[in-house]
Symmetry: C2
């Protein structure tokens, strides 16, 4: 893919007329819209436009389609695989001004929002309605970005991922058409499922300008608890039995011994340096009590450590402190280090073995790399640390990340459970999906024949 700098400059010239001060070419603004939150080198766009509505985005796309100028949608910049970098230059569309809640339908448990709203802002807005949007990827990401990357997080085991929680969208196509996909009905068999096709397409098929989301009632009772296990297999067996028994756990997280040690140091805790499971249950007082009781019985069969739990917000938060601080605790293992955040996902029957082999790999190669998992889904994150200037260690980490992906595939898993492909996992995508990548490329060519939508992502 090659783009002509003259054409890009021409597109920026045309759009400058239209957007005035809302088009910026300042270095700091451009760098802020290249990637900043990951190991990826920053690749700033040539210009940033702060758009305000779908019509403006349609107009940008028409100009860029005609002239052949790359376009990258920018939400909150919290993605982890270089999704918002501009390796081919072009224009970044900052979506943060499209941050409105358009309609709340209480009876239907749905809401229509603009893509720039963050999930925390949305949930603040919804609080008085007794409803909430459950997907929680950790970062305060924008809803549009979460849709574009197919985000999920800690409570996907109960509520699903973005793919399960978006009913419909408005999308601007590469050539500037404004189309609607999906709708407000809970289900539909009307033609191809374009909604799910756009979800996780990482800005390469269209720009999302509106979303209809499924909401959940805020649970009457939330209980949180923790339990240590003598080894990974015992912890993972507890997860498997929980799922098999149909206990509707809302979150079930694993910390490996190194992550527990990091949390003890950072958050001044006293947890045994063993695999730790953290769980959360949502429901009525009676159903949560039943869930807790059944989960406690599972733990009693698999570990001598107590299952501690509470449905008091403060006490619950204390029990979950290790998880809440996990990222910062991990970073503090090597002061000044940067983290190379990566994720894979495997069938849960293979989770213990895959994590065990990964820890062995980490130890053999002298890495510092704690592990946190959304284990109800078999999804886990490894966070290898290195000083930014330690080239030898950074090379070691890159090689480790490649082995991790290959290992996950060998265990019947996927190269990414929730971070997406972006720039970082394009080779892994082909390794995992084989010829299916050609079908994806066919869709890309059909939707975006000039190739201007987020070039250099997903595909090599």
């Amino acid at each position: 893919m090659t783009f002509n700098q003259d054409s890009i400059d021409q597109a920026i010239g045309v759009l400058k007329q239209q957007f005035g001060d809302r088009l910026s070419v300042s270095r700091s603004v451009r760098e802020q819209h290249g990637h900043t939150t990951t190991r990826m080198p920053n690749q700033p766009p040539d210009a940033v436009i702060f758009a305000e509505n779908a019509d403006e985005i349609s107009s940008i796309m028409q100009t860029c389609h005609k002239l052949g100028c790359p376009v990258i949608a920018f939400g909150a910049g919290s993605s982890l695989e270089g999704h918002v970098n501009a390796p081919h230059g072009g224009i970044s569309i900052d979506m943060s001004q499209l941050d409105q809640v358009l309609v709340v339908n209480n009876e239907d448990l749905d809401v229509v929002v603009q893509p720039g709203i963050t999930r925390e802002a949305l949930n603040d807005f919804l609080r008085d309605s007794g409803l909430f949007f459950p997907i929680d990827p950790g970062a305060n990401a924008s809803i549009g970005g979460m849709a574009a990357t197919g985000a999920s997080g800690t409570n996907a085991v109960r509520y699903g991922t973005m793919r399960d929680n978006i009913l419909g969208m408005q999308v601007v196509t590469a050539d500037g058409r404004i189309v609607r996909v999906g709708g407000r009905a809970r289900k539909s068999s009307a033609g191809y499922d374009l909604t799910r096709l756009f979800i996780g397409s990482e800005g390469t098929l269209g720009i999302i300008t509106e979303l209809t989301l499924r909401l959940q009632g805020i649970p009457e009772v939330i209980a949180g608890g923790i339990c240590s296990f003598p080894n990974l297999h015992a912890a993972c067996d507890a997860v498997i039995m929980t799922v098999q028994m149909g206990i509707p756990v809302a979150r079930i997280e694993l910390l490996d011994p190194l992550q527990v040690r990091a949390c003890n140091a950072y958050s001044k805790l006293n947890l045994p340096e063993e695999p730790l499971l953290l769980v959360e249950f949502h429901g009525s007082a009676i159903s949560v009590e039943d869930d807790v009781k059944r989960f406690a019985e599972i733990c009693a069969d698999l570990t001598h450590s107590p299952f501690q739990w509470s449905n008091e917000p403060e006490q619950r938060s204390k029990l979950w402190k290790a998880r809440h601080d996990a990222y910062w605790a991990a970073l503090a293992l090597i002061p000044g280090a940067k983290a190379y955040a990566t994720d894979v996902c495997v069938p849960i029957s293979n989770l213990a073995s895959c994590v065990e082999e990964t820890i062995k790999d980490i130890k053999e190669n002298g890495l510092t790399a704690p592990i946190v998992g959304h284990v109800g889904d078999g999804n886990f994150h490894v966070l290898p640390l290195a000083m930014p200037d330690d080239d030898a260690m950074n090379d070691k980490i890159s090689a480790f990340a490649k082995r991790l992906t290959t290992r996950a595939l060998a265990f019947g898993g996927t190269c990414t459970g929730e971070h997406g492909v972006g720039q970082g996992k394009r080779d892994s995508l082909r390794e995992e999906m084989g010829d299916a990548v050609d079908l994806m490329a066919g869709i890309k060519a059909s939707f975006d024949p000039v190739g201007i939508l987020n070039p250099g992502k997903v595909f090599n």
Copy 2:
């Protein structure tokens, strides 16, 4: 779209060499593979091949792609919108020989099956494992057909539709490539969601030759119950409150007064001729008791009729008899009549109004058309009846069906919740989705440039 009969005959000649007796051109076999279960006129293919594996299907596709011969995958023939008709002739591939369960992964709650297995055969096979596949469209459809049409049914409100319960598939493309999409991991952000794109594509994008399905644990306790309501709004309010309170109802079905009257006559029941809700709860003894109690409280607020329920299989089955016999009871309203089965789906806040207007339309036009709804999703079926030779009535019904679709769209709904587009709703798809249909057509052209996969379906 035009196909050349000589080319079709040539393809059949080539394939006859390969398949011998497993390629049939007998009239009865061909007619049986045209549509038989609906109002659609039968349009038989030119030949039927009983394939045994993906390699054979790949070979059929290569031949048909080269020569330009239509190919239609045939599962159990239970779809309702003319999906398996052959309006352009060609070859029907009968998938019933691909009926094996390949792997059951107990710990991961998944199973790998061939597409020709029916859902009842699969659940019989699974029974001893304590697991089941929850999607229940009523008919004993094949799993491949259910995937191709994006089927759902009575318990989608709890377990989702086919879109939510397929992890991965093997698919043969139009030109005969065998590709894998999705996998066995519970979630993945690896590239475009081709799995969900093939689900509901009605055989127009590829032939599904293997599926990995999510399973559920057979619930410890199942409770069933029924309650009559003075009017549709009260019944629908009960549904809305149930969903809002997060009661994990497994099925929640509505019968309209005419359907209740039909059931009273057919199944010798004594139900009040008022809107009737039938519910089912799945879970532990304690959680089901809690669900029943909370649902009973909702009913008490909205109706004077009692909520009758049981967790004894026999008694439960008796309570649900009206629902189990509903289809036959409806047909018995006019002995000898044929039913024009149609479905739409609307946001549940609009369900009562949409059903009310529909009943008014039915009465005003002198139709006999009972209504049954999967109301937790806002999905309902209307079953207008007519004698096969009553042309005037059949014309009236066609006009009614068109109004029903337009009405559902006006209420923010979709032209089909679970039956699919097939031949019958191609105009409605454009009415509903607008320009998004062009994006769908672009995908179709990319996956099947010769247009041989199930031509005349989904698109005009």
